[in-house]
């Protein structure tokens, strides 16, 4: 679907989007209501016990740590923490639910009424035609030196519940239920603590939705509450989307989109859904309230089940547990445990380390990256934070991307990167050499200093040595020297290249430049 199709639709229609984000609390060692370990995968039905299998007579015992993590998550997103809270049973039959009810929360969630501020950069502004396509008309929501804007999304609630097991459909295509001959259930995941965050329908564009989810993920990672793997399903985003004609206040019929396994899918699925709904309305049809499945391969959504026959979950207070009464002092003590969150971190990178906002934002958003960065800066020195950031967001990011690995899995350590930056900043090697050294150290895991020694790469910065080479080059190219002196100063690059070649790349480009400029003008 073409991007301009979405833009065209959004000129006429306003999208109203709310997200439901499920995050498994992977920080706890054990499941929500039993002692089974929390982990991903494994032989089916090996991390189970009478409680998480729903055997007759087994009882749930709440995991205190999971409750603390949920409260922390609420505190990190400006939520109010309930002083009185409770679990409810949400009842429906499904084979992946051991008890045929899910222990969840209903009218008394642990956290409610939060806020998340989201920034959309210049590229995303186009989806907000109401903002006039640019910053000029953005009003109070606006930032932004990069042409983007800032908007605040409400968080309705964050509650805690238990995850279900997993169905494996056998005999059909791609594990889908259609055409399957039979189904198997794996209860390893059943009972994993699951936080459900529900946003207010404050989101207006697919880009804002993506930013919201990304921002939330960066906060969860900073807290350490979850590994937030969208691929492995420890963070799952569902979207409710409806559209209405611009200027109308009544909400349209919504559809719920599931199976968006990446931020890109989230964006694309919502964009698809907005256009699909607009096509229906334009044709005089109506939108049916239903759950739709995003197929990232086919780039389309398809109806999963109709909500017309709405579920009655028959919620009632979970009688196997007493309600929770929280002491405000306990909540305060948890608040003190809150680590530095991405926004604060970004501000610190900008003020203390003089990073550009864009770089500071990228580094602070990813917790592992921020830790790596700060460790490297601690070694290299704050004055060299910028080149450290450049390396990380440039060559290192490209390398990780090419190898398809995460930062912690890389051979490059913060200490190695700091050392490399030092070698460049101290003029020991050129930037070009540094790139070679980087490639070498990323492949071998050797320290950059050792690589420089072994390759005999030490850069020549000695002015006299460079002057003698420059003299030779100028003598060998009298025509170019004359042209330069006649005003074709662009030839400087030619001379630099010639000198570098003479020095087999080991000359300090900065010194070469200085010497050349001086001798050519003299």
């Amino acid at each position: 679907m073409a991007k301009d199709r979405l833009a065209e639709v959004l000129e006429r229609y306003e999208a109203v989007i709310g997200l439901e984000i499920h995050t498994e609390i992977t920080a706890t060692n054990t499941k929500m209501f039993c002692g089974c370990p929390v982990a991903f995968g494994g032989e089916p039905n090996t991390r189970v016990c009478p409680v998480c299998l729903g055997l007759p007579g087994a009882l749930p015992v709440p995991n205190q740590a999971a409750i603390e993590w949920t409260v922390l998550a609420g505190l990190a997103t400006d939520c109010d923490i309930a002083l009185w809270s409770q679990f409810h049973r949400k009842q429906y039959f499904y084979p992946d639910m051991p008890k045929d009810y899910q222990i969840s929360q209903y009218d008394l969630p642990f956290c409610s009424g939060g806020l998340l501020e989201v920034e959309v950069d210049g590229d995303g502004v186009a989806q907000r035609v109401d903002l006039g396509g640019g910053v000029a008309a953005v009003g109070p929501e606006a930032v932004a030196d990069d042409g983007g804007y800032r908007t605040t999304i409400g968080i309705t609630r964050i509650h805690l519940e238990e995850d279900t097991g997993k169905m494996v459909h056998v005999g059909g295509s791609e594990g889908r239920i259609a055409g399957a001959t039979h189904s198997l259930v794996d209860f390893n995941r059943a009972g994993t603590p699951l936080m459900e965050l529900v946003s207010e329908p404050d989101i207006r564009t697919p880009e804002e939705a993506r930013r919201f989810a990304q921002k939330l993920r960066s906060i969860w990672l900073a807290l350490g509450v979850s590994d937030c793997s969208m691929e492995e399903g420890s963070m799952r985003v569902d979207g409710n989307v409806s559209i209405r004609r611009r200027g109308e206040s009544e909400l349209g019929t919504k559809s719920e989109v599931k199976n968006m396994n990446s931020f890109k899918s989230l964006h694309d699925a919502l964009a698809y859904e907005i256009v699909r709904q607009a096509d229906l309305l334009d044709a005089g049809d109506r939108v049916v309230q239903e759950t739709r499945h995003w197929d990232a391969g086919a780039k389309r959504t398809s109806a999963l089940r109709s909500k017309e026959e709405a579920h009655d979950y028959r919620y009632f207070p979970e009688p196997d547990m007493v309600p929770f009464s929280f002491d405000p002092e306990w909540i305060d003590s948890l608040a003190e445990r809150l680590p530095e969150l991405p926004d604060a971190r970004r501000a610190r990178y900008m003020t203390e380390l003089s990073l550009r906002k864009h770089d500071a934002g990228l580094l602070s958003a990813d917790f592992a990256q921020a830790c790596f960065f700060e460790e490297a800066v601690a070694i290299a020195g704050a004055a060299r934070a910028k080149p450290v950031a450049n390396w990380m967001l440039g060559d290192l990011a490209a390398l990780l991307n090419a190898e398809g690995i995460e930062l912690p899995e890389s051979r490059v350590s913060p200490a190695m990167l700091a050392e490399l930056v030092g070698l460049v900043e101290d003029g020991m090697i050129s930037g070009k050499q540094a790139k070679e050294v980087f490639g070498d150290m990323a492949a071998s895991g050797d320290a950059p200093g050792a690589i420089v020694e072994a390759r005999g790469m030490r850069q020549v910065s000695d002015t006299e040595a460079i002057e003698s080479v420059v003299r030779g080059v100028l003598e060998a190219n009298p025509v170019e020297v004359a042209s330069y002196r006649a005003g074709k100063t662009g030839l400087i690059g030619f001379f630099v290249g010639a000198v570098m070649r003479e020095m087999r790349g080991q000359g300090n480009p900065k010194v070469i430049n200085e010497v050349l400029t001086r001798m050519l003008s003299g």
């Binding site: 299998l53 055997l55 009882l59 009842q91 259930v185 028959r314």
Partner: protein, 500 residues
């Protein structure tokens, strides 16, 4: 082998007999099985006998004695276990077809505590399916008969647990009480049946009926035996978040202190209930006189909200039950139709074929009560009534230490006599408010009625975690009445056998 007449011995005496070498634990187990052999064909107290477990436990006791070790408090005491409690090595069927072949894979906390105290697990006791009923007529495997009159019900739902103690097939047993399921069969079989305070005994491993109402409790021939068993099974359990950390008193030590100075309140408005038999009412009044004669201060008290107990209970109980029984879906265990078209068909037919009519009735009642649009009118109202009942009890216990009511409005009825569910439900009129409030209560035999010759029960109700006071009052009453009920069936048997 000399057969020991378990009807003639208390649990305490059984242990003492083993400790002093009068007989072995193995002989006790053999005697229990001999009595079962003789009578259970007619009584049908047991759904499953577990001689391997019982004899293994007996041999451990006998070896411990031979080694000169201190014997645990229930060493060698034969015990029946209601079939809704898990015990590895047994089936736990809840007297339902849907769990007909269900083998326990873990132990119920109360059961393992009872066995750690040295008790011998004789077998799993019959019950109303999933504990829904007051007669054991709802067992999918046929009813239990009252040892006092085989034409009559033993009460329920813990009918098998009551009957096996009444018939001397076991010295003690465990039942579960959600609305009277220990106290009512206790009253109807002339045994002592205790429902502890909610949270006193872990519920881990007892198949849930009404999670906010269920408690496991003991049956015994005497208050002392019940106190011994309660000591063994009580206490906090990390596997049950509703179990209490309240310390476990040495309950049996509180006995024998009489009733001097106890403040005893007759619940006068409940006693005036229309369906209550005249003789039963008289016995409660004479029980009060007994307490007065023992030096208790006797007065009257009203529990005005208790009249709403039955209505509230038949919302809250089924609501929780409908949820708790959802897991019996044929997916992971239990009965599953072999030829389901799809998962919905599998659910519907496995459940329709696996559950009996009363179970289906309760599930439907509860599902309805929790449905959107009805929740406030039913479940919400019932919770309000429950709060009022709690307040009534709280007020009553400011004035009194224990309260008196009949355990049941009438003595054991004949099979099939209560054909409509509501009349059956009325049998729990006196016991239900206690489950709603969560405090403790015991049914103590108070004599035989003159017309039918069937046992009657006095319900004594105690405050939260006041089991010591409750049992002290019960023991004082028991001692004063000198009533030691032995069913004619047993008298005939021991008479012909010439047993002691």
């Amino acid at each position: 082998m000399s057969t020991i007449d378990l009807s003639a011995l208390t649990a305490r005496e059984v242990r003492r007999g083993i400790a002093s070498g009068d007989f072995s634990a193995r002989e006790v187990a053999e005697s229990a099985y001999a009595r079962i052999e003789a009578l259970d064909g007619e009584v049908h107290a047991f759904l499953q006998l577990t001689p391997e477990l019982a004899f293994a436990a007996a041999d451990r006791v006998d070896r411990a004695r031979a080694a000169g070790e201190e014997l645990p408090p229930l060493a060698g005491v034969p015990a029946g276990i209601k079939d809704n409690m898990n015990l590895i090595g047994t089936r736990t069927t809840c007297a339902s077809r849907i769990l007909g072949n269900y083998e326990s894979v873990y132990d119920c906390t109360a059961v393992s505590r009872l066995l750690e105290a040295g008790a011998l697990p004789i077998g799993k006791c019959n019950m109303d399916e999933f504990a829904f009923g007051s007669s054991t007529e709802n067992s999918a495997y046929g009813p239990t008969r009252n040892p006092w009159d085989l034409e009559r019900v033993p009460g329920g739902s813990s009918g098998g647990s009551a009957a096996c103690v009444a018939a001397g097939m076991a010295s003690i047993s465990l039942g579960s009480d959600t609305g009277g399921s220990i106290r009512q069969p206790g009253a109807l079989t002339g045994t002592v049946g205790l429902k502890p305070t909610y949270g006193r005994v872990s519920r881990y491993g007892v198949v849930a009926f009404g999670s906010s109402l269920d408690q496991i409790g003991p049956f015994g021939k005497t208050v002392d035996d019940v106190a011994l068993a309660l000591e063994a099974i009580s206490g906090a359990d990390v596997m049950d978040a509703t179990s209490s950390v309240e310390p476990v008193d040495p309950y049996s030590e509180a006995l024998g202190r009489g009733a001097q100075g106890l403040r005893v309140g007759i619940v006068s408005d409940m006693l005036a209930m229309e369906g209550c038999g005249e003789e039963i009412r008289r016995v409660v009044n004479s029980s009060a006189e007994t307490f007065a004669a023992l030096g208790a201060e006797v007065g009257e008290v009203e529990l005005p909200s208790a009249q709403h107990g039955l209505a509230a209970y038949y919302i809250i109980g089924p609501a929780e039950a409908s949820s708790n029984l959802a897991r019996f879906d044929g997916i992971r265990y239990g009965r599953r139709v072999p030829d389901a078209d799809d998962v919905l068909d599998l659910y519907m037919r496995s459940r329709a074929e696996g559950f009996g009519p009363e179970t289906i009735r309760r599930i439907m009642l509860g599902t309805y009560a929790l449905s959107a649009g009805y929740y406030d009118a039913y479940y919400g109202q019932a919770q309000k009534a429950r709060t009022r009942i709690i307040q009534d009890f709280r007020a009553a216990f400011e004035r009194f230490d224990v309260l008196l009511t009949p355990s049941t409005p009438e003595v054991a009825f004949r099979f099939g006599e209560k054909s409509d569910p509501y009349t059956m439900y009325l049998n729990d009129y006196y016991t239900i408010p206690v489950n709603l409030a969560g405090n403790c209560a015991v049914s103590v035999p108070s004599g035989l009625c003159t017309t039918a010759g069937m046992p009657m029960g006095l319900q004594i109700i105690g405050d939260y975690f006041a089991e010591s006071t409750l049992l002290r009052a019960a023991a004082a009453f028991e001692e004063a009445t000198h009533f030691e009920p032995v069913p004619p069936l047993v008298r005939a048997l021991t008479g012909t056998e010439g047993g002691e």
